[in-house]
């Protein structure tokens, strides 16, 4: 756990009158995939949105790549090297696939070699390059959402349930792309409900409950211990 890319210490986040995160302590190691797990409504999405800055932490601190980002606005965090794929995908439906990708390259023109790598991971994006993103299927939209985060090299990717509601074949494509990203040395903090994907991709894991991290360790340890899964999440992930 030396040299983490991201550290959250005692982070509290509230939305209106609701106190969602109640002291999150989380360490994301540099390189590899960290799974953020837990039942619905325990604060996983809020944690990601707090990290990217859509919701500001009320207290606690966030350190990214050694620098304090607690009070930085969202654009500054993104420019510092954090990519974000929200649960709702956040694609610009009235823009074409091409325009979505051009926007994703915030620091300059799209790198052609990187684009070819993205096309290799997500072939439909090449096919529908000039189509409006709103006309893509659900799986294709998700591909675009992840491709957009991949358009520029990022030190950390925050990805929220990328396989939600997708067909098995598309899930396999997603998992392949994320593995590819991981193999390029990226750090990924991934919220995922699909255990097969979590088990296949995750190097480390953190489990949330009631707005806190209640367990953190190796993904393999969690995957191999049904009793631990039951205790932490009230279910055995192997059943899913």
């Amino acid at each position: 756990m030396s040299d983490p890319i991201l550290e959250l210490s005692g982070v509290h986040t509230g939305i209106a009158q609701y106190h969602i995160l109640q002291g999150v302590d989380l360490v994301v190691p540099r390189g590899g995939v960290t799974m953020l797990l837990g039942r619905n409504g325990v604060g996983k999405t809020t944690t990601l949105r707090t990290i990217i800055g859509h919701w500001q932490a009320k207290s606690g601190s966030l350190r990214f790549d050694g620098a304090d980002i607690t009070t930085l606005p969202t654009p500054a965090r993104a420019r510092a090297g954090i990519g974000f794929v929200p649960e709702d995908m956040g694609i610009f439906s009235d823009l074409t696939v091409e325009e979505n990708m051009i926007l994703a390259a915030a620091s300059g023109p799209l790198d052609q070699a990187r684009l070819e790598w993205i096309f290799a991971a997500f072939p439909p994006l090449r096919t529908f390059w000039r189509s409006e993103a709103g006309n893509l299927s659900g799986g294709q939209k998700q591909m675009l959402s992840i491709a957009r985060a991949m358009a520029e090299e990022r030190a950390l990717y925050l990805i929220d349930e990328p396989t939600k509601g997708l067909a098995p074949a598309i899930i396999s494509t997603m998992a392949g792309a994320l593995r590819d990203l991981k193999n390029k040395g990226a750090s990924i903090l991934l919220v995922e409900q699909n255990f097969a994907v979590a088990k296949a991709l995750g190097d480390t894991a953190a489990v949330m409950d009631d707005g806190r991290i209640v367990w953190a360790g190796r993904m393999a340890e969690l995957a191999g211990d049904a009793a631990l899964q039951e205790r932490l999440m009230g279910l055995s992930m192997e059943a899913h």
Binding site: H54, R79, F92, M101, L103, S131
Partner: protein, 344 residues
């Protein structure tokens, strides 16, 4: 702006034919209204005169409305103070024109156009600067609070109107157009005012320019994307707040430009003219679909044409024609014809 795009074309369309027709329907409304106008009016020359008049009016309303729809779409800000920029633009521009009577009073196209350009530049600079101050002082403290936005921007509108009274006096100001913009040309038996033709050409040019900026430049992409999902634009690293300030300033300057054009159209200006225009401007923004420049353009043409046709056919109904149009369109498409803002 294109990248070295792959040469693959989509293999199949995923949009059904009814979807395509439904999407294109708003584009067909203007020609449909023009044809209905022709059938109802009967006289081709009257119809042509009214159509050009309606298009000119629509173009001027579009110029005033385009900034407002982007401001709403980008930052969810309801700015009732927009009308103040129309009035201030008109007063500044007309003051410049009145000061350049030696240019406007001679039958020289060059001098007349130079005077109008000077008036437009002065109006846009002043209203752009005023918009910048308005955003900083009045709008910024009330982001995210619609009720407060309505209250403070209406307050700002009243203050600016009173400032106009202080600076230019309480009375309306009458003016005459530059010599070369007076009178009409005859075409197919119809008398068409030169100024209306100019307004149509100018409005079209502005619409094309806005579309080019929005479609072909990165800043345009950021604005279009920001209207749809501002959070995501920020998550990609763009400072949307700065973009919004730029759009607010540009929108205010366009309102000022619209004020000058409307003042020259009516040949009289009052401090309350912007406030009066805001009814039409809001109708256009709402029926066009919040955040949509194309929707505002179509909406403005519909409003301009309908008002002119109805005023000719049934003058008593002219006052309610635009409200009826808004009601009909919202019953057909509650989000407006071409909504961009989905939900915030």
């Amino acid at each position: 702006m294109t990248t070295a795009a792959p040469d693959h074309a989509p293999k199949y369309a995923q949009v059904s034919l009814p979807d395509r027709i439904g999407k294109a329907m708003p584009l067909l409304l203007v020609p449909l209204l023009v044809v209905l106008g022709f059938l109802s009016i009967g006289s081709p020359s009257s119809w042509l005169t009214l159509t050009v008049s309606g298009l000119a009016m629509g173009m001027m309303i579009f110029i005033m409305a385009s900034g407002l729809t982007l401001v709403f779409g980008l930052m969810d800000v309801i700015n009732f103070g927009h009308g103040a920029f129309i009035s201030v633009g008109a007063y500044v521009g007309i003051s410049v024109l009145l000061g350049l009577e030696s240019w406007t009073g001679v039958p020289s196209l060059l001098l007349n156009v130079a005077a109008v350009i000077a008036a437009v530049i002065a109006a846009m600079c002043v209203t752009g600067a005023l918009g910048w101050g308005f955003e900083r002082v009045i709008v910024r403290p009330v982001y995210g609070a619609h009720l407060k936005q309505i209250l403070v921007t209406v307050g700002g509108l009243i203050v600016i109107e009173q400032m106009i009274h202080v600076i230019w006096g309480p009375d309306e100001i009458y003016l005459t157009r530059p010599e070369m913009l007076k009178g009409a040309v005859t075409f197919a038996g119809a008398a068409i005012e030169k100024y209306r033709l100019l307004a149509v050409v100018f409005g079209l040019a502005l619409f094309v320019a806005m579309r080019l900026v929005l479609k072909r430049t990165k800043i345009g992409l950021i604005v279009r994307a920001g209207v749809q999902n501002g959070e995501m634009v920020e998550a990609l690293g763009y400072r949307l707040r700065l973009v919004f300030i730029g759009v607010f300033i540009a929108g205010s300057a366009l309102a000022g430009l619209g004020g000058v054009m409307w003042g020259l159209y009516q040949e009289v200006i009052t401090a309350g003219m912007g406030e009066e225009m805001m009814i039409l401007v809001f109708i256009v923004v709402i029926i066009g679909g919040l955040g949509s420049v194309e929707g505002a353009f179509i909406g403005a043409l519909l409003v301009g044409l309908l008002q002119n046709y109805v005023a000719f056919l049934e003058p008593k109904l002219a006052l309610i024609s635009n409200i009826a149009l808004m009601t009909a369109i919202l019953m057909w498409r509650p989000q407006g014809m071409m909504p961009v803002v989905k939900a915030k």
